[in-house]
Structure formats: structure tokens, C-alpha cells
Symmetry: C2
Subunit: 224 residues, 2 copies
DNA sequence: GTGACACAGTGCTGCCGATCACATCCGCGC
DNA sequence: GCGCGGATGTGATCGGCAGCACTGTGTCAC
């Protein structure tokens, strides 16, 4: 079985045999960059585990502006909310890269919840953790200025997707600056200027849909 | 058994006998306005159900500014996060009024989760719902201006705590304007001006720690 | 009744960041 | 290699809101 999957909250509590059984009841989905898994307002009670690539969860305001709630990577869940609290999807899920996911319907999950309480516990932990992160992001929106939020977002992305190289931490985030702006709740222009400023100070280097963090210490200080 | 309790997510799935049994393992806590149940950073793995009154969940930024995450009323949960996802408390809980709560330790809840999967399901739903609300608030922070957020907050409070009278919807929110400002992520002065403006238009009337909504329609339109 | 104190109302000033308006730049198809 | 569209870089302008400095106002203690 896949390594990524074994670390996913849904499988963490199961032994190999059970994990394989659960895995067998899931259906694989593949998306190309830009494809949407589901849209805000759609009905739906399926949950997905990302096995490869990144997906963004985002919303559109009445007047057409976009806001990104989260970037979801390998091992993480998408769409749990509509499953645990029935109702239409409250966000759109769109692939940032080529993506592979495993989907599971409400009916296929229920038996596991009834028989294996560890699965419930693991899911509770996953949702609770997500709620904590969301609360953190909300506080940042209130307390920090745009450059601070950009720094924070980059550090967060680096923790999840960064790889150490001799130059610094290479973070392939797969986001355009427009998308990065939606993630931190600011305009593209302001985010661009913040990035340019950081680059000018030697704290990072910009690349296409990626950054190399050169001075994590300073960035961390700026983010507070 | 208490009516409020029967509607609480923790008890909703249990029959009378089981509810009484669970209730018996909980300990009652009483707080006066201003008292704190726990502080940000405290260790702790107890969960509480509010049975009477209101509690605010809030955080303090490094430089001393305050941000309110939520107002929690009768039937709702407090402190679930530290229980499901072990770790220190990430917010402070402070009583807005005289408050009565029932507390439950991690060890006392676990057996219920193992034996009664409906309890897990109900808790998952409760946390999922909270996460949805939090996502909504986050989108508002990005999309709406301060008056819009104030209007939204008032409508939300009215849905939860309002009572219809012949004049309009009487909403005793128990928040000072300072606290209302912390809830919507704005300064007290700006919130005051927004409220004065709404009152001047005849959309609402201000009272001490309460408002009477006179024109819900207009407020709703302003909040979008 | 009279401080005292917390809360509420309101103008003024300055600044952060949205918006607009461009000027590149870069990857890709043909 | 040429052109085209999407992405990026950067200045100029403008408005919303924070911050400050006050002035009312209500409520409690004594």
C-alpha cells in the first residue's frame, strides 16, 4: 500500500489488512491543473484523500472576487464537511497540479465508523486540527499586515512542501502570485511588492510558482 | 433532563437513560461575567457544554490586541479541539454573562465514543459545522468592509439569541462595542460609527449590550 | 450627591493597501 | 521566429479604516 495513504488520517488507525480493505472501496480520480473536483453549491457527500499533487479550496464572492481557504496536499482530506454535516459544498476544489485522489462515499464510510471507533477518533482529530489552522489564519487576517501574512503563508507552505537544498529551502507551491494573493486575502499587486521587497533584502529568491527561502529567521520575525 | 442539554450535539443521539448516565459523569461549573474558564496556552483536555449564558472564545496577539473567535451559547461546545487534537488551548474562554457549564474529561468521554458510534458522528457534525461557520467568517473578513461585517454579525447574533417583539427582533448579545469590534476584526470607533449610521437610517435601535433590529431586510442587503 | 470608572459617541489625521494603468517578460503554438 | 495570452513588475492615485484625542453618559460605591 501507498506510503502517503498510510499516513493519511483515514488510514492511520487501521492495520494493513483493514487499510487494504478500505482502500478497495475507494475510487480513483485524476485531474489536470485547472480541473475542478466539485463546485461551491454542488450537492455531494463524498470525501477525498489526495494521494498526489495539490488542490486548492476556494470561494467566489457575489461580485466575482476569489478567496482561497486552503491548499490541500498529499495525505490530506477534501470534502469532509459535506459528509459529516450534510449540505451542499461550501467551496470549490480545483487542481493546482496534476492530481490523483481517492474518493469515498458516505455509505461506504459509515460501516467503518460504526465498527472501528479509531477511525472516528482519527477523523475528529483531523477536523479539529483543520479548525485550529483556520482559526490561526483568521487571527492573522486581523492582526497582521499583508507582508506579514505573505511571510507566514510562505513559511507554512515551506513546512508542508519545502525541501532543503544547499541554497535554502526550495518551496514549489504551484501557486501564481494571483493565487497567493487570494490565499492571504490581498491584491496581487500588493503581494508582488511584498515578495519583491523580501527578495531585495535577500530573504528569498523568486521562481515560477516556487520560492527558495534563504533567511527563514528573518521571515519568521516579519511574520509576527 | 434539561431541555437545552437534550438538544446539545453530545446528547442528541442518546436515549433518555443514556443521556442521564452521561450527564451524571459531568461536573457543573458556574462563572460570573468576566471569569475565565481557561486561558490560551493552558494544558487541558476537558470539553464543556454551555447550559446557561454566553461565553466568548478569544485570543491575544503578541502586542496585546484582542480578537474574538466566537460567542458560544446554550447547547454549544467549548474546548473540543484540545480534546480531539491533544495540545494546549489555543484560545481563552471568558464568560460574557453569568454562565453554567457541564464539563467532561477525555477519559470520561472515550468509552462513549467506543461503544456508541452515534456520539462520534454527532461530534463530527458539530465540529464540521463550526468549521463551516469559521470559513464563512474568514471569507467575510476578506470580502466585506467593516459596516458589512457588523451587519452580518448582528444578523448572526439575532438568529441565535434574538426574540421577536412587536417592535422588531430584540437581540441581547451581552457584548460591549469594544467586544463587538473584536468579533468583527475592527476598531471600536469604526464599529461605533457603523452602528450609529445603521441607527440613523432606522435599521436598528441601540441599547446597552443589546440591539433591536427594525429592518432586517436592509441589514441583510448591506451585509452582502 | 459626587467622584470614579467603564462604556459610548464623534471629528481629525495619516497610512496601508485596493485599484488603475502601464510596461515587461516568458512559454507555447504554429 | 513571431505573435499572443497569461503572468509579473512597478508607479500614481484614492479611499477606508486605525489611531488619537476628546467629549458625553450611565452606573456603581460610599
Amino acid at each position: 500500500m501507498d506510503d502517503v495513504l498510510r499516513r493519511a488520517p483515514l488510514f492511520a488507525a487501521l492495520d494493513d489488512e483493514q487499510a487494504a480493505e478500505l482502500r478497495a472501496s475507494m475510487t480513483e480520480v485524476t485531474l489536470a491543473r485547472g480541473d475542478s473536483l466539485f463546485h461551491e453549491g454542488d450537492p455531494g457527500d463524498r470525501l477525498y484523500v489526495v494521494t498526489e499533487g495539490k488542490v486548492k479550496l476556494h470561494r467566489t464572492s457575489p461580485d466575482g472576487r476569489e478567496n482561497m481557504l486552503a491548499v490541500v496536499g498529499p495525505g490530506e482530506l477534501i470534502g469532509e464537511l459535506s459528509l459529516f454535516d450534510p449540505g451542499p459544498r461550501t467551496a470549490t476544489a480545483t487542481a493546482l497540479t496534476e492530481v490523483k485522489l481517492l474518493g469515498l462515499g458516505h455509505g461506504d464510510l459509515q460501516p467503518w465508523l460504526n465498527v472501528r471507533p479509531e477511525v472516528s477518533t482519527a477523523l475528529l482529530r483531523a477536523v479539529a486540527r483543520r479548525l485550529r489552522r483556520t482559526n490561526d489564519v483568521m487571527s492573522d487576517l486581523v492582526f497582521s499586515d499583508v507582508p506579514g501574512r505573505v511571510a507566514k503563508a510562505l513559511l507554512d507552505l515551506s513546512r508542508r512542501f519545502g525541501v532543503q537544498s544547499e541554497e535554502g529551502i526550495h518551496v514549489v507551491h504551484d501557486l501564481t502570485q494571483e493565487e497567493l494573493a487570494q490565499l492571504v486575502g490581498a491584491s496581487r499587486e500588493t503581494v508582488n511588492k511584498a515578495l519583491a521587497d523580501f527578495a531585495g533584502r535577500g530573504w528569498l529568491r523568486l521562481e515560477a510558482r516556487a520560492v527558495i527561502l534563504l533567511d527563514v529567521e528573518r521571515l519568521a520575525k516579519r511574520s509576527r
